[in-house]
Amino acid sequence: MSPVTPPWEKVLWKKQPYPDNYIPEGALDLSLRKNPNFKPYTYWPLVHLSTAITQHLATIFIFLCVFVRLKDHSLDPRVLIFLSLGCFFLGYLVWEVLQYTQNLGGSNHDNESNERIRLDRVKTFKSSILIFLALMSLSPVLRTLSAATSSDSIWALSACLFLLNILLADYGSSSPVIQGRHERLTSVLSMNAAISSSVVLASRLTNDLAVFALIQFSVQSFTLFPMLRRRLQVPMQTLLTLILSISSFLLAIPLSSTIAFLVLFVLLAVTMLAPAVLVWAQKYKNEIRGPWDVAVPKLN
């Protein structure tokens, strides 16, 4: 027997005086790295991130309350049209202000980009008029489109479509730098689900004006509003979340207090409880990393 056994090395080419099943003590711990890139979430940033979901849910609740009111004739469709027009102009104003401040920050507002913004404005104006007229002329068709289907099927269908809308919606808060030119398929699907849902709901209304008002409202709240929402900064987001949540609660109370408190509970759970659960669940996180992982190539 040799007086000094050489230390074990982690190589295969050398013949070592150790059996094949030899493992030095602690060799496993050395190469094993647990949770290496782990940044624990903290509570308040998660709450801020969850406001996007809360806003989306609150919008849907508001839309449903408005629909119920239109259906039992307690809300005049003309009021809704004027209200949504008002919201549209308010939203457009906010959009313009955001665009302006962003351009100031970017400080490269040469003639070309000014020209582009002007053209964009004309285009927006044209298309909004077009949509307005198209909706107006289509509303009699939309009213009778699924009139033959029984109400039960309509409720079930619209519930499914709204669920799809909630699941697939794009809750990412895109920073103003990345202007989402390339929209993901899921967010388009989500928008389509919401619009289809409002179309099938519209068939339960009795007159054309109500149908027009509802569809117009749905286009605003499910396509235009999310675009605006994504560009808002944190303090505005919080304010908006509060306004939307409170108004959805207030709108639901006269209809049924049970539903109103359910709405309130859902919104609170999403904003406050869910982040807390996520923060708590992090102690179970166990990510195992080691030399066997597929490396990520770094390219210039």
């Binding site: 080419w13 094949d20 493992i23 060799a27 496993l28 711990d29 030399p291 066997w292 490396a295 190539p297």
Partner: protein, 455 residues
């Protein structure tokens, strides 16, 4: 060790080509040379590779009618293999099965069934897997279930062993340090080997042009993006460099585009797919071999290149740092700048003629040799054969420890398997079986061959 009868079980075998296939064949051939009886059990390759075939030297292969689902692997279904396996193991008087590859469900099933016949089990893992994606989580759980009751596990590198131990849950908590993990003593590391004679270095090249060889599947996992990024830089920095790229795959287009963009048609030669027989002839055209893999369990292609006398540049991933001494290989991080640095280093070493291909070949010959690998594997078999086999109750207890949900599921599979086995014992009694009585006797074969040629 006394000669025993061994059955190799794997989804992957000749006529398919690959690392695992070749490993099984070479190991079997060398075990036969050491006096054991070896058979291979795999699934059939319709239309013509079905039934029982003999391969040289005296290797009997059973091609079973089980349909593969994806890339040569069969569907894990836990029971359908048992009737075939029982018949084969009984009629061939098998003492030990050796299953290969963690994605080969035939191997897993073999380990599950063999204890019913008192046959011992060994498993070799050839690849590395992560722990993140759904596919890995699922296959790792399958592996853990199988390896619960296996008698020994062999891995091809130390990194591979760490990976397999974690995936297959082959550790327990230490008695004195509860936080420290102790690996079970039945996990071995036995590397692959190569047939060094097939990779003789070519004659010395008198020219100043240095050819860099890349032989790999052109896929993302092989790090072809790194190659695409560094090749133009190397060509720009060293006017005497040429590239020779062999292989096929989805990243071929990227290589072609790069070549066109930088007008390197005369510097970068693309060979397309290269047959395993032609590998040496491609390798000896160059003096530097580049491997840019992002994950590699063992890296047999690196060994082949080093054996053919090429200086190797490789990314430092997986088991690659273990296979060669540092003076035969330059390592790089998987980073464009570092790969470029390592290639420059290799070029300076080769152009200063500091790397002697023939000396490298002689050294590799002593590192990796199939005869030694077979001997080391035989030692594992010996330990397994001498150890006590686990009782069914012990197996049930160990299987139940797998987890709250996986434990009962695997236990049910284990028990149903026992019932199925009892049913087969009644339905196809052993007495009615065709036992194999005649074995391949090489001396007899040689005598007959000699007498025929003399007549």
């Amino acid at each position: 060790m006394e000669p025993i009868s061994i059955a190799m079980i794997a989804d992957f075998f000749h006529p398919d080509v690959g690392g695992v296939e070749n490993h099984i064949y070479m190991l079997s051939a060398n075990l036969i040379r050491r006096g054991h009886k070896v058979i291979v059990i795999t699934h059939s390759r319709p239309p013509d590779r079905v039934g029982i075939r003999w391969l040289l030297p005296a290797l009997k292969v059973y091609y079973l009618p089980i349909v593969p689902i994806a890339s040569g692997a069969t569907l894990p279904n836990f029971f359908t293999f048992l009737p075939y396996l029982r018949t084969i193991l009984i009629r061939e008087h098998i003492n030990l099965i050796h299953a290969h590859a963690s994605l080969s469900s035939l191997g897993h099933e073999g380990i599950l069934h063999s204890h019913l016949l008192g046959v011992r089990t060994v498993f070799t893992d050839h690849s590395l897997f992560g722990f993140e994606d759904a596919a890995s989580i699922l296959t790792n759980k399958l592996l853990a279930g199988t390896l619960r009751n296996v008698d020994a596990v062999i891995c091809v590198s130390h990194t591979g062993r760490e990976n397999t131990v974690l995936r297959g849950e082959l550790f327990k908590q230490s008695d004195d340090h509860p936080s420290r993990l102790v690996v079970s003593s039945n996990v071995y590391v036995i590397p692959n080997a190569i047939v060094a004679e097939r990779f003789q270095p070519g004659p010395l090249k008198p020219t100043d042009t240095i050819t860099i060889v890349v032989l790999s599947r052109l896929a993302y996992r092989k790090g072809i993006d790194l190659l695409v990024a560094t090749a133009p830089r190397v060509c720009a920095a060293f006017p005497n460099i040429k590239f020779l790229v062999g292989g096929d795959g989805p990243k071929l287009i990227d290589l072609l585009q790069m070549r066109e963009k930088y007008l390197l048609q005369d510097r970068i030669e693309l060979l397309g797919p290269v047959k395993h027989n032609d590998v040496r002839s491609v390798l000896i055209r160059g003096s530097i071999f580049i491997n840019t893999s992002l994950t590699e369990s063992f890296g047999i292609s690196i060994l082949e290149a080093a054996c053919a006398g090429l200086y190797v540049v490789s990314t430092k991933v997986g088991g690659v740092p273990e296979i060669l001494p540092e003076d035969m290989i330059s390592f790089a991080e998987p980073d464009e700048d570092d790969v470029f640095r390592a290639i420059s280093e290799a070029i300076s070493i080769v152009s200063a003629r500091k790397h002697d291909p023939f000396k490298a070949h002689e050294r590799i010959k002593t590192f990796y040799d199939w005869a030694q690998i077979a001997e080391r594997t035989e030692n594992v078999y010996d330990t397994v054969m001498k150890s006590e086999q686990r009782e069914l109750w012990d197996r049930i207890l160990r299987t139940m420890q797998l987890g709250r949900y996986a434990g009962p599921i695997y236990t049910i599979i284990l028990l149903v398997d026992c019932l199925f086995f009892l049913f087969l014992e009644w339905w196809m009694p052993r007495e009615n079986m065709d036992f194999v009585t005649h074995h391949w006797d090489h001396r007899q074969f040689a005598a007959i061959a000699r007498s025929r040629t003399n007549n």
